[in-house]
Symmetry: C2
Subunit: 346 residues, 2 copies
């Protein structure tokens, strides 16, 4: 910019005014303005975004944080829809997206308050004290893409899907097929996440309502990511005729293990998952799953964030919960007759 000013024979200030000044204060003679413009073009002047951000206190970038940042491809498409939703809102408004490497769980504040972004969409924000504290101290707004943890203070807006309702719908689907004992399968890594827990809670509540037996010891399992424990579980001849996996990727593991054990799905065992995406269609058999409208959720969260960036965090909006639906595919079917009690017809 110094060069541009020199080239045009004016002060740096004048150049700045002409090149970036907002309407009212331009106050520069037309000729000078003209020559500044040409000089800038000739010199291929590009304003330094860093300096500009520093001075202006806004960066034009939004951060996206999702832990769990292994390979996205090959796994569930959840993150891809998330990404699409965020980007789809951000880019038309000229924002950039910055994706962060894994956050230090002990000082998560760093990413959010180092001044490099105007706000953050945080997917599955952990609910440890460190994160709660970080959220409070954060100088920029945060939208979390998960359910609000119980009693968490009001520093963050939560956008989530109705995990409880989604689980209920699936239990209703399964009972309507005649299943009378359903296993809820969780994944060790994610056992304590808000999403996993609320899906389990929804499952439990629905079991009670639908008069399906529920004993935590027998009807909930926590397996490793590839469900390697499933064969051993099968050996005990459990009474269950359906397995409800906490998410789609894990549902795929369950499917794979069952097939490896020679169990026919859905004839002998029905399998269902959570997070219905293109991925569920790619499995054999295709996987029945609860659909959470993640793309819409991500879009909405991003819009909310941009709003809070524009109007200040005081404009904080109430949490939003999106309803879930069930996509029925091949992996669920009528409960096998032999296992059904006399009361069931058909």
């Amino acid at each position: 910019m110094k060069d541009v000013a020199a080239e045009a024979g004016v002060s740096i200030a004048a150049a700045s005014k002409v090149l970036h000044g907002r309407g009212s204060n331009i106050r520069v003679s037309p000729e000078k303005a003209e020559s500044i413009q040409t000089a800038a073009r000739d010199l291929n002047y590009v304003p330094n975004a860093l300096a500009q951000s520093m001075r202006l206190g806004r960066t034009g970038a939004v951060g996206l944080v999702f832990e769990n940042f292994g390979r996205i491809s090959g796994g569930p498409l959840f993150y891809i829809h998330l990404f699409d939703g965020v980007v789809g809102e951000l880019f038309p408004k000229g924002y950039r997206l910055t994706v962060f490497p894994e956050v230090d769980p002990l000082s998560p504040l760093g990413i959010v308050s180092d001044g490099s972004v105007d706000g953050v969409v945080w997917c599955k924000m952990p609910e440890t004290p460190e994160f709660t504290e970080a959220a409070k101290q954060s100088p920029v707004p945060i939208i979390a893409l998960n359910s609000r943890p119980p009693e968490s203070p009001d520093h963050v807006t939560y956008v989530s899907c109705d995990n409880l309702g989604g689980s209920s719908l699936m239990v209703e689907h399964l009972t309507s097929l005649g299943h009378e004992r359903i296993l809820f399968a969780m994944e060790k890594r994610e056992e304590r996440t808000p999403d996993a827990l609320s899906r389990l809670a929804g499952f439990q509540a629905a079991c009670h309502r639908m008069r399906v037996p529920f004993e935590p010891d027998r009807d909930v399992v926590v397996w490793s990511q590839d469900a390697a424990e499933l064969p051993f579980w099968l050996k005990e001849r459990p009474p269950h005729t359906a397995i409800f996996a906490w998410n789609e990727g894990f549902g795929a593991s369950v499917l794979r293990q069952l097939l490896a054990c020679g169990v026919r799905v859905p004839d002998e065992m029905s399998v269902a998952g959570f997070d219905s995406t293109q991925f569920c269609d790619a499995l054999t058999p295709t996987l029945t799953a609860v659909r959470q409208p993640i793309l819409e959720m991500a879009s909405y969260a991003t819009r909310l964030l941009m709003e809070q960036i524009a109007f200040g965090r005081d404009s904080r909006s109430p949490d939003v919960i999106f309803p879930c639906t069930v996509d029925v595919r091949q992996s669920t079917g009528p409960a096998p007759l032999k296992r059904r009690s006399a009361s069931a017809g058909s």
Copy 2:
């Protein structure tokens, strides 16, 4: 930082040295250092990344540019593998990733020289004069993920797959199945991209080599994204028994249109695509496709970029071309024996 220094009763410079100074120059008494550390912790001090970047002349962020930024989900998984490859290299080294909104085709320099990234991975960099010029002027290294345009100067390192070889392999696969006339189907939007053109070139060369007839007017079509023109093409009872689509997403469109027209794949018509991903497995029938190792390519490109960032652009490496392979799936099969007389259709 001012606050930290004040709290610890030392100068700002001392604080800076202790908190970020590199080994040799620390020269601060242990007690002061100690009190600075505690003060920083107490105040939840987080260094301002912007100021730091500005001063140091490096940002710790790498840019990723891919035009064509519609919805990724639902389309080919090419971009997801790309993303994974880039992120997989970047994050372990502590780099951030900044994804840019669409680049102004008339002044593409902006994104690359506004100081906000240390380097750029540019997927399918257009080869207009503007972009060539921008690449030359760019203050940061650029790695392009596509073939080198003919005679382009040496400002950019190109990482690409062997589009020509990939096309050849597919033609060989099809001829080995007895196909004697193959249609190459391109997509209007992408008709002029280097990738599309080199795939076509490879197709043409292979046709000659394999003695498959090739007339540009009859054996190459340019259709809209959803291949809506296919039914009309079918009506003319073309002699082709196989269609080779320029990419996977377009291959899916072709498949869909054929199904809608009641043409059985692969019994009556074989279909093949380019870019073999999980997506090809999700189709019915699954799509035979050329596999370009995009994840590896992206990883490699990213490593190259980080190297050039670290050692200067002079360390520029030669272009790299990755070989392709063919993933045979359900959509290709033996050529129908009596195609001409027994053609089904309407």
